[in-house]
Assembly symmetry: D2
Homo-oligomer: 331 residues x 4
């Protein structure tokens, strides 16, 4: 940690700061610049924060040096994490495709989608049973009935299934039915949910919050890992910016940045990022081209009738074409 003193800091202020640092377990190194005094604080005391340093008289700013996450960072684990779910490797050499409808709407709909996406080459089936919707008047999901249908689709195709959980009840319930739990963007900083999921030990897909920095995202992963669950798949799904031509802005740079900072696998979700099925294939290609470990896309047997996000869902035909478009990136 570096503490920059104000231009006119007095000797008493400097002494007082150094005293505070020493009480907190740091050693101080003073650098006298031509204009300012800078103090380097060395040591890594138990408490990761230093409340009040910015408030001390004479202090201009405090610059942290260490990354705030530990378990999620590459410094502690240089090798890539590879997560094996029923024989499917996520984070390894082969890119993984997760496909299926936004919401489980009926047995017929999901089974049709599941069989079709498997046939076209998907590795994992997705389907939502608990839907967090902006409007209280929108379809909120089939809940446990949806989970049962999802499990049946997993059994029928032999593929793992993933579903979103939104609170304690849905998380506990989903553990009995799904192979991977998904934390949606809106819940990325629902810390109670993260702790709970950390305790289940289930593989988790952690979507990036719509306005979360990469740092905050890795700190959210840290919440799960701090409970002993290291099987985390990150998923970039677009951030909120001023541009309205797409629903969100896919932060494609996050792929190589996260791969530099963390050992965890990372995927992209071009369906939620763009909100437009016509952009799904080019954005999926972009994601894999710059190193993502896989893509998650929405596929619906009949997008025009979808109860949720029909605008961004691929039809079965679209999905087949998308798989062809992606073939050069998938071994």
């Amino acid at each position: 940690m570096i503490v920059v003193m104000q231009l006119n800091a007095t000797k008493a202020e400097v002494d007082s700061l150094i005293n505070r640092l020493e009480v907190s377990g740091f050693q101080s190194h003073i650098i006298k610049g031509t204009n300012r005094l800078v103090i380097g604080a060395v040591g890594f005391p138990a408490a990761p924060e230093n409340p009040g340093l910015e408030r001390m008289p004479g202090v201009e700013k405090v610059v942290p040096i260490m990354q705030p996450y530990k378990l999620a960072g590459r410094e502690i684990k240089p090798d890539d994490t590879v997560i094996n779910v029923k024989g499917i490797e996520i984070g390894g050499r082969s890119a993984v495709v997760i496909a299926g409808p936004c919401a489980v709407e009926s047995r017929e709909q999901l089974l049709e989608a599941a069989v079709a996406v498997k046939k076209a080459g998907a590795s994992i089936i997705r389907g939502g049973a608990f839907k967090p919707r902006t409007s209280p008047y929108s379809f909120q999901g089939l809940e446990e009935e949806g989970l049962e249908i999802l499990k049946e689709a997993g059994n029928l195709t032999g593929l793992p299934v993933i579903t979103e959980v939104i609170d304690e009840r849905s998380a506990k319930m989903a553990c009995d039915y799904a192979d991977i739990l998904q934390v949606g963007a809106r819940n990325m900083q629902n810390f109670q949910l993260l702790k709970l999921i950390g305790q289940t030990g289930k593989p988790v897909m952690l979507k990036r919050g719509i306005s979360a920095t990469i740092n905050e995202w890795l700190m959210a992963a840290e919440y799960i890992m701090a409970q002993g669950n290291y099987k985390i798949i990150l998923c970039e799904r677009g951030i909120r910016t001023f541009e309205t031509a797409t629903r969100n802005t896919l932060d494609i740079s996050a792929i190589p940045v996260v791969k530099g900072l963390s050992h965890l696998p990372i995927m992209v979700d071009p369906s939620h990022a763009s909100g437009d099925w016509r952009l799904v294939s080019p954005l999926a290609r972009a994601g894999l081209a710059c190193g993502a470990h896989g893509v998650m896309v929405e596929v619906h047997p009949n997008p025009k009738q979808a109860l949720c996000d029909g605008q961004q869902s691929l039809s079965i035909e679209n999905f087949k074409q998308t798989m062809k478009d992606l073939s050069m990136f998938i071994q």
Copy 2:
């Protein structure tokens, strides 16, 4: 709802769209422009959404006309909502000041703060017992012990108390101790929590999410109101932008905009918006000057020792001065 057809839409595509609208309970009105066809869809069917219209062949875009919220809007209730909490009116003519520490750290700390802020003119005491923190290694709050201390402070001063709730357990617990429940920015779209709070019937302060549009914010209020709880206080606390000179950007325009759209009271939180105690007083003044029904500020007896957000907390002395600065806006 207005449906704009593509430049080259065929008659069959137009007929198909009109058929879909009629099946959904809408009447269609066709407007032939010089270049394009536009279809006005009239009627308000039970289902508030029209899945798949954007996906129909020949459709360029769909423009909604109605606001998506009902209960939160001024159209349904033109008069301001005034919420009375133990004799303190929120949303009325007098601006309200909520003050207290970010977190309840100890009995001594909170009682000292409570007595001091009451003396200086605050109307409501704040203090967090459950703290959602970016890092799992940061102080997470005293939980039920903190609530007990908070209640004691309420009894001691005769002022109502407000505290943040973060999940089912904390919400149920807080109902026994606090007068107002607070939903933090990170939980603004934690819809399960909103529904639950809607069922408690307790007054709620709903903070705006860090990247929530005003529309989404009012939809979050709608979630609570749809459960029958209309006692909602909105609180603007800064949004995330590219500017890093302040922690967030206080969206001051949200005050008059929300007052135009909704009958619910609205306050500002300059402490979280700026992240810097030196900006609290000017931003509080700005908030009241443009019509906010009150301000919520962080006050700590010893900000340098605060376990949470010391950088943005006013000392008791600072708070007294701030109350003087605000006096011209408070009757």
Copy 3:
């Protein structure tokens, strides 16, 4: 400047960096942390930049300590700058109101507006003769004819006049007619224009770019000041964010932040910030309440007929009311 080395930086890499610093005129101070090495570079060589340090092997990041602006900063000039334009003081104790139409459309229109806003209490008349418009098919201004009318309005009312300049030609021309030159948001980083204006010596209003950080804004002021022209008035006019309820988001916090960093006067423009005349009065109040040295608002004798930005213009009646709303802030 602080250089943070990577976790695994070698001794050779550290030596190489120190050598580079010394060649560049810096002294090095080494701080050995528990995990990392940090190097403090002291001295202020002629070249303000240190190209390539981040590229050196073993370097993780470089943290600057000094503010990049010199002349615009409070460190070099602690006292507020007050600019006197024909007897009107900007940056002093009294708040200043600049008012007038977006564009000069005709002699009648401008003179009517000028007389009316003076009568209602405005101190300076505004009117655009060169209009930078998003569409090439929109009204682009009356150019020199507009400047002549503006000057006539200044003579008629005895008030100073301000007008926007957009290139070398308009800047030179405006010097003959206007008392204050305005640099619009889109030209805040048109460095050629800034240099040119610096050479004119005329008072300048420098609007903040729509996505400029406060730092970049002060650096733009520095461009003008580096040419010897210190008479700069900053004007906050809204930044671009994800929120679409207003045209831009008025960054009200910029007022106290800039007042802390710089000695230059700062105003707010609630008309451009909001894009909605109904928000002009509350936002103007907010601006003055938190310390702005004045406001600039658009006033049009007949907003419905305005050739430019009618939606955000106050009518004469609106302006009179706005002046009443602001009276408590204007001595």
Copy 4:
């Protein structure tokens, strides 16, 4: 254009609006909804704007239907524009690579870079002679001397050269030396410069402004095209968002979105988007994978000694590797 009336609009207000529309050359079509009246305005009068409609009593909002750009849009020209510069086709089937240093620093530096990037497979040489820099104290370019060196590099390698222009003087000068003029992000809405370049008839690369919407970007192209110059290459170079892990956020979705809306070729600049040479190759791959017509990257013979943007420049070795990484996308 669709005009949505307020809930309580009176008959007189509606009549007045319809009258205004008719005077402006529009035909009105009235749609009576269950709650509101909506008016469709048909016709495309000479004046592209309708000032004051939003200001009329009883009007809630006005929704435009037509795209504001004409010449840049695909509706007027469905086929892709292909621009041939000295035998290099931009916008055709083959992706184009533009490479070279940020700034021309010396004859040796540029010629070394030019020969090396040609050998590695680049099609066009870049180099800046006029540098718009955030600080007035930074290196501002060699100006005409730089242009001469650039032309020599073009002659030596037989490749076209591109350089940035920043005002009337530099634009006129560059026409004698360069094959493509570049308009930088900061000047995307410098409309005077756009008009001037439109008159030169030279091929232009128009970079997206750091906070420009796609719509505004195409309107900037429209400014150039309205002067008769249709040879425009768009270049996405990152937008400003809240994320600070990269200098800007590459808006990869802009590639397929622009290709849908416009016939103009579009490229990506991963160097400026990321500000970090380590991200250049993955982002270049992402750009080409989703359909960009080419990439522009910074290459410097000795990045550590670069006078400008060394952090984002590839070394010659890095560039060779990048060309290998991109080979699967370049025929």
